[in-house]
Amino acid sequence: MRWWWWIPLLLFAGFLGVAAYQLTQPKDDLVPSAMVGKPLPEFELPPAAEGTSGVSTADLKGGKPRLLNVWASWCLPCIAEAPQLERLKQEGVEIVGIAIRDRPEDVAAFLARHGNPYARIGADDLSQVQLAIGSSGVPETFVIDGEGVIRYQHIGDIRAEHVPLLLEKLREAGK
């Protein structure tokens, strides 16, 4: 037996090592908001569709913690997270929506098809509020405590496994 027959296996083992190491490294491409822990900026948004009410900073300061969901009707993942928002609503969570660059008729169609878990929905046509609260995409969900301070940011769609985590964060924010 010759040693050189083992060279390919050794090279392959080296590749495996690097690949496995890289896989375990969190690939964090997401941009966390610098606003976590800070109070919400002042804003006032008109309603995003008929039959809903607009959102202002004051609406998010009423003594109890709330979820602020940044979404859009053109966003596929927002459809995927709709059932989870519905569940959170059934748990008694008040969810405030901000629709990004959307049209009222699209918003209405989205709500008709996928349900409306929102207490109110503001229209952010130029992404101004979105940028101000440090959100760089949709969907994102923020936990806002009773004083209007951002306590937690969830980036991406809410999957079933995230619901308990968000409930926990809301509980913490309520203390």
């Binding site: 083992w6 390919p8 392959f12 590749f15 496995a20 896989l23 690939k27 053109w74 660059r101 098809r113």
Partner: protein, 648 residues
């Protein structure tokens, strides 16, 4: 019901693969004769079951069953039927199912018709095939079930995006998968031959059609992918050395080497261990490519389903398949007896040189692709691009092409340079003449000049193996080689010409003004808004005339989509026999002017014509080999018949 049937078919196929693996390995040991008879039937039924699974998925997509998650996520009831069907493999789960279905059908085909190898080698091969298949079944059933139901049927599918409805995109990925499947079959044969120590010329002949087929598909896939990137990205380039592109190039390089070493083994019974090694490496490269692309550990300009979990699964499969095969190789290769010897100046010698150079290029591409991974482990972010790949690749490609001009002229076993003196001088003179002509045409870099000279020399040299032969009697396989080598010369000519003689013009011009690029006069006749189902665009209307000839209308667009919001550049091309004019329109440049980017790319289309010729050559060789095999089979059957008669 259909989804459940499909899932049941998958489970059945997995169970049969397990049986095939057990029986195949058991049959290799003494006392295993009883189960040996199970292997081939298991492979055939497994192939059918898996194919049924895939047909069920197609059916679900055809009827748009929105209670199935995969359909709901990737299809829409209003799509044309062809795109509904293509949607079945236009996603991670479906593409994996297609891959494993084609692989299982290939296994079934081998089990049905392949009787040339010793039965034990065949059993070992089918066991290896089952082992590979089993991993994929586990992957599908455990973590990527294509038949998963939604708790509530969706009201409508999410896959209406008209952008998805691109016929090229629908058929490009399967082409590469077919290539990967062919390499997986070659891998199984290599493992089977190693397990039974039967590395014979017959083994190479049996494996070769699969390698050839894989190689044809990979060639087509790479050619199509390159053209897609060229017209779609709007950057004017045709190859970006992007990880996704490299992932398809690496198996191709390995398959090319394997193809040639298998020829040596088939014709001359030499390079035994090396051919086995390449069989393992070629499949490894397709798995490594799949891993790099799907795990998302490398960033790329092409998007893919990126998911670390799937990445881990593929990595585990990779470890089992490739680690296992390489360990087996390390243990067994020493016991594979050495093949026939040959002189350095011989067909074998030239092919060995080609193999070593191809392997070196493969190593260069592999290192370059993995290097960012390595440095990221030390928290340094780098990207590796043309400044590395082009010169480093050329160091090995140029000598390979030089030897390629003479290799096919050499005799097997031993030859002398003196015998082929005249063609040698002819080729050298042609290359020098081409070099001088290219120098006279204008300034260009060293590599493009070398490329032009080599391309012209190789184009002529590729036909020399035909000299002195009656063309009607030249075997199809030789025609295949000639055409594939000529195709490579054509592609190389396109690449070198594009890089040596391209002219670029970036201008801001007002309506009515004219910009010049190379021999073209391009007039901006008007700029108009345009609209599609979910986009609006600025469309530039250009009139391009070549050397004062009749103007051709070109309408490049800059599109804005609103759901989701994004912008894209749609290039416009004017194709002539001697090149392409490539036009991109940008945004408003102020003062009534518009940005316009124009390229004149002489002979750029030769790159893809060449690629198609290479694939055609491969296909001809494949057909030639298969016809030969069938003929030999018929002869053998006749001999057996006669013997039987004599015995009576």
């Amino acid at each position: 019901m259909i989804a459940e049937l499909g899932l049941a078919a998958l489970w059945l196929a997995a169970a049969l693969a397990a049986l095939q693996l057990y029986a195949g390995t058991r049959a290799l040991r003494p006392g295993g004769e009883a189960v040996a008879a199970l292997v081939r039937p298991a492979a055939v039924v497994q192939g059918l079951a898996c194919a049924i699974g895939f047909v069920m998925l197609l059916w679900l997509f055809a009827i748009t069953d929105l209670s199935v998650k995969l359909v709901a996520a990737n299809s829409h009831s209003a799509k044309p039927m062809i795109f509904k069907l293509a949607g079945a493999w236009g996603n991670h789960e479906g593409s994996m199912l297609l891959w494993v279905a084609v692989m299982a059908l290939s296994g079934a085909l081998i089990a049905l018709i392949e009787r040339r190898l010793p039965e034990k080698t065949m059993l070992a091969t089918l066991a290896a095939q089952a082992f590979v298949g089993l991993g994929f079944y586990a992957f599908l059933i455990v973590s990527s079930n294509p038949f998963e139901r939604l708790p509530q049927p969706a009201a409508e599918g999410l896959g209406l995006n008209p952008l998805l409805q691109d016929i090229g995109l629908a058929f490009h990925p399967p082409t590469l998968y077919f290539g990967y499947v062919g390499l997986s079959v070659a891998f199984s044969f290599a493992v089977g031959a190693l397990l039974t120590r039967q590395v014979t010329p017959e083994f190479a002949r049996v494996m070769r059609p699969w390698v050839l087929g894989a190689w044809v598909f990979l060639t087509l896939g790479i050619t199509a992918g390159s053209y897609w990137a060229y017209y779609e990205l709007g950057w004017g380039g045709w190859w970006f050395w992007d990880p996704v592109e490299n992932a398809s190039l690496m198996p191709w390089l390995a398959a090319t080497a394997l193809l040639h070493s298998a020829s040596v083994l088939a014709a001359r019974d030499a390079l035994r261990a090396w051919t086995i090694m390449l069989g393992v490496v070629a499949f490894s490269m397709s798995m490594v490519g799949t891993f790099l692309v799907r795990s998302g550990i490398l960033t790329s300009v092409h998007a893919f389903a990126v998911d670390p979990e799937r990445g881990s699964f593929i990595l585990v499969l990779l470890t089992l398949y490739i680690g296992g095969a390489l360990a087996l190789f390390a243990l067994r290769a020493g016991t594979v007896t050495e093949g026939q010897r040959f002189s350095i100046t011989s067909r074998e010698g030239a092919l060995v040189f080609n193999n070593v150079m191809l392997s070196a290029v493969l190593a260069i591409v592999l290192f370059g692709t993995l290097y960012p991974l390595l440095t990221e482990a030390f928290d340094v972010r780098v990207s590796v691009g043309p400044p590395y790949f082009n010169p480093m690749g050329a160091i090995f490609v140029v000598p390979m092409l030089l030897v390629m001009t003479v290799g096919p002229l050499l005799r097997w076993r031993g030859d002398s340079i003196g015998r082929i003196q005249r063609p040698l001088i002819l080729i050298a003179v042609i290359m020098l003449a081409a070099l001088v002509a290219a120098l006279a045409l204008g300034e260009a870099g060293v590599l493009p000049l070398l490329g032009l000279a080599l391309a012209v020399g190789l184009a002529v040299a590729s036909f020399l193996p035909l000299r002195g032969r009656r063309l009607t009697r030249v075997p199809l396989a030789v025609w295949g080689m000639v055409i594939a080598h000529f195709g490579l010369a054509v592609a190389l000519f396109g690449m070198a010409s594009e890089s040596a003689f391209s002219e670029e013009r970036l201008a801001a011009i007002a309506v009515g003004d004219t910009a010049r690029v190379g021999p073209w006069d391009v007039t901006l006749s008007e700029v108009l808004p345009a609209a599609g189902p979910n986009w609006t665009a600025i469309e530039g209307h250009l009139l391009a005339s070549y050397a004062g000839g009749d103007p051709i209308a070109l309408d490049p667009q800059s599109r804005s989509f609103w759901a989701p919001p994004q912008e894209t550049t749609e290039s416009a091309l004017a194709t002539r026999w001697n090149g392409q004019l490539y036009a991109v329109v940008g945004s408003d440049a102020g003062a009534g002017r518009w940005q316009l980017r124009l390229w004149w790319k002489p002979f750029v289309t030769f790159i893809w014509y060449g690629g198609m010729l290479v694939a055609l050559g491969g296909a001809l060789a494949l057909i030639g080999r298969v016809i030969d095999d069938l003929r030999r089979r018929a002869v053998r059957a006749r001999i057996a018949e006669r013997r039987a008669e004599e015995a009576v």
